[in-house]
């Protein structure tokens, strides 16, 4: 399939990922049926998930719009173990925020179930098990930073000390300042403190670093790392591959309301971070090219070849060393958006293994009707 498939997809990684996804979607059409939960718990490997974490099963959410219903989430299955840090990675409109709203109980699914530590989202929130930093939201005015954090702490049954949250979020300098006199980056840090101070078992962050500069980002993720070190579960949405790569154990790729890949961030990075070398090189055997270091797939179109690479630097050196006659050499990064389009099979020949192995969305939709 490497020759005929899309060059950007390393087949090895693909196989691993689809294999993994098949296990998460084995429930099939029954995924929307709550009564099926015990049997699923039984077929789950006990060593993998000793206690219930976060489980999204057959989730479907449609928003009503003037132009008719729009399916924001079209059958998402996802299991997150306690203590995991998971990135929801995808372009705008992929359904990340809607998935997060469903996870938090801010929206009700049209089909499917959400379970947070074995509870319904609303019960988990009421128990103080959930903290979140939503994508948008201002702070209420007329309180100091410390007062706002104190207020939020008072709402939770077992919060961390206010000073601890302030320190964790790096707010010592501005703790006495009114919330309406903060810069954008400072506001984000206060919002992070508000999400943390309840010491929730699950922390959900919806594109938390959008308004931050590079230093702010680094400081923010240092805070989150410290929080994760307490054994907490973190789910964050991002469209930055580097954030997912640097801070998550696992990345879940979403596009058009579906999970298109799910795996360790290293594998995801290899998939969507792949580069393609194109060159004019008539008559050469593809097998030889495919054997080059850093090359995972090769294809030919007339005189042109396209090599999908996990390491384009090594590949281009070997290519030019072995075939000095190669001309018009181009190296292109797939780019996240483009990689997503390929993963979702936008083009007609897109009935690739990834989409075939994607979650049981059609079945879930069927059941929802």
């Amino acid at each position: 399939m490497g020759e005929t498939g899309r060059p950007a997809l390393p087949p090895a990684g693909l196989a691993r990922l689809t294999g993994r996804m098949t296990t998460t979607t084995s429930a099939g059409p029954a995924g929307v049926d709550r009564s099926d939960r015990p049997s699923r718990a039984a077929d789950r490997p006990p060593a993998d998930q000793p206690s219930p974490g976060v489980e999204l099963r057959g989730l479907v959410k449609r928003w009503r719009t003037p132009a008719g219903p729009v399916e924001a989430v079209g059958g998402v299955d996802l299991a997150i173990a306690p203590g995991e840090t998971v990135a929801l990675l995808g372009p705008n409109g992929a359904g990340k925020s809607t998935t997060i709203d469903l996870l938090l109980g801010l929206a009700r699914p049209d089909a499917g179930t959400v379970s947070v530590f074995g509870m319904e989202p609303a019960a988990a929130v009421a128990a103080g098990a959930v903290g979140a930093m939503l994508q948008t939201g201002e702070l209420i005015r007329d309180l100091t930073v410390r007062e706002l954090v104190t207020l939020t702490a008072a709402l939770f049954p077992a919060p961390m000390a206010v000073d601890e949250a302030i320190e964790l979020a790096g707010l010592e300098e501005i703790a006495g300042r009114r919330t309406n006199r903060l810069s954008g980056g400072q506001t984000q840090r206060v919002r992070a403190a508000i999400a943390l101070v309840g010491d929730p078992r699950l922390l959900v962050l919806d594109e938390p670093t959008v308004a931050m500069d590079v230093d702010g980002r680094r400081a923010f993720w240092a805070t989150m790392r410290a929080f994760a070190a307490r054994g907490r579960t973190i789910v964050f949405a991002t469209h930055h591959l580097d954030e997912a790569d640097a801070y998550a154990d696992r990345a879940v790729l979403m596009a058009r309301g579906r999970v298109v890949a799910d795996g360790p961030t290293t594998e995801i990075k290899a998939m969507v971070g792949a580069r393609t070398i194109r060159a004019t090189l008539p008559g050469e055997e593809l097998a030889a090219l495919r054997a080059l270091p850093g090359v995972v797939a090769a294809e030919r179109r007339g005189d042109a070849i396209a090599l999908s690479c996990s390491d384009s630097d090594a590949a281009v050196r070997a290519l030019l060393g072995g075939w000095p006659e190669a001309r018009d050499v181009e190296i292109a990064g797939a780019g996240l958006e483009q990689a997503f389009l390929q993963l979702t099979g936008e083009d007609d020949d897109g009935a690739a293994p990834l989409t075939a192995g994607a979650p049981a969305a059609p079945a879930a939709q069927e059941a929802a009707r």
């Binding site: 801010l106 929206a107 009700r108 929130v125 103080g128 903290g131 209420i140 309180l143 709402l155 939770f156």
Partner: protein, 243 residues
């Protein structure tokens, strides 16, 4: 949870300078502007009460009504800031959230009433202690529908619409309630007697020898309280279900 949340809610209200000063100051300014120049007139419109007394009780009701309504209406600002969504992912119970709004509304209303009383006293109003007390208690009961209406408006209106809506609602209710001039007969009178604001002003008429509410007054206030509280609960649920 409740005590801390309420404490910060009150603190925010007091710290919101413009809101605080306008809510309390506006009725005071009106009072001195209307009653001040006519402070010596002891028989207003042949009612047998002085101008300062008539407008003190009218504006005490008006100020209390404004305070009660506007506190609920501040919900609209918190909604537009996204703060309600943030609160909904905390264990804060809706009853505590709404309860704090009502408590704040009452605290502000009480401050407004006390300030009007003090101003009336300055302009020479003297009443028996029992009348002050009875009048105040009736006003506080009569505020229930307005606290609920504030929550309704806060959850149904956008922050842009809230100014005009509040201005219109309070002016109309105050006018028909008899805040500005007595309404004693005709269609206006029949209409007024169906409105909670009429009975709110009527509550304070205890101070001018009025008879309080009577059965009809209690019925009107009771009915409006039940209806608007139900509407407030509906508005809250509708708002939070939609998102």
């Amino acid at each position: 949870m409740t005590a801390t949340y309420l404490r910060f809610e009150l603190l925010r209200t007091v710290r919101n300078g413009r809101f605080f000063v306008f809510s309390l100051g506006f009725p005071l300014i009106l009072y001195f502007a209307i009653a001040g120049p006519n402070a010596g007139e002891s028989d207003f419109e042949g009612l047998g009460v002085s101008v300062p007394l008539y407008y003190m009780i009218g504006l005490a009701s008006f100020g209390a009504m404004m305070s009660a309504l506007s506190c609920g209406a501040r919900i609209a600002a918190e909604r537009s800031a996204g703060w309600n969504r943030q609160l909904r992912i905390t264990p804060l119970r809706p009853s505590v959230y709404l309860g704090a709004k009502v408590a704040t509304a009452y605290a502000l209303a009480l401050m407004s009433i006390v300030l009007l009383y003090a101003s009336g006293f300055v302009l020479g109003v003297r009443l028996p202690a029992g009348d002050w007390l009875a009048m105040t208690l009736l006003i506080l009961v009569g505020l229930v529908p307005f606290a609920a209406l504030g929550i309704v408006i806060g959850h149904l209106m956008t922050v842009d619409a809230i100014g005009p809506v509040m201005g219109g609602v309070t002016s109309l209710l105050a006018l028909l309630g008899g805040t500005w001039f007595p309404i004693t007969s005709g269609f206006m009178f029949e209409l007024a007697r169906c409105l909670p604001s009429y009975w709110l002003v009527q509550a304070s008429r205890v101070g001018v020898g009025g008879e309080g509410w009577g059965a009809r007054g209690w019925l009107a206030i009771g009915a409006w309280s039940v209806a608007l509280t139900a509407l407030a609960a509906w508005a809250y649920r509708r708002d939070t279900a939609r998102v």
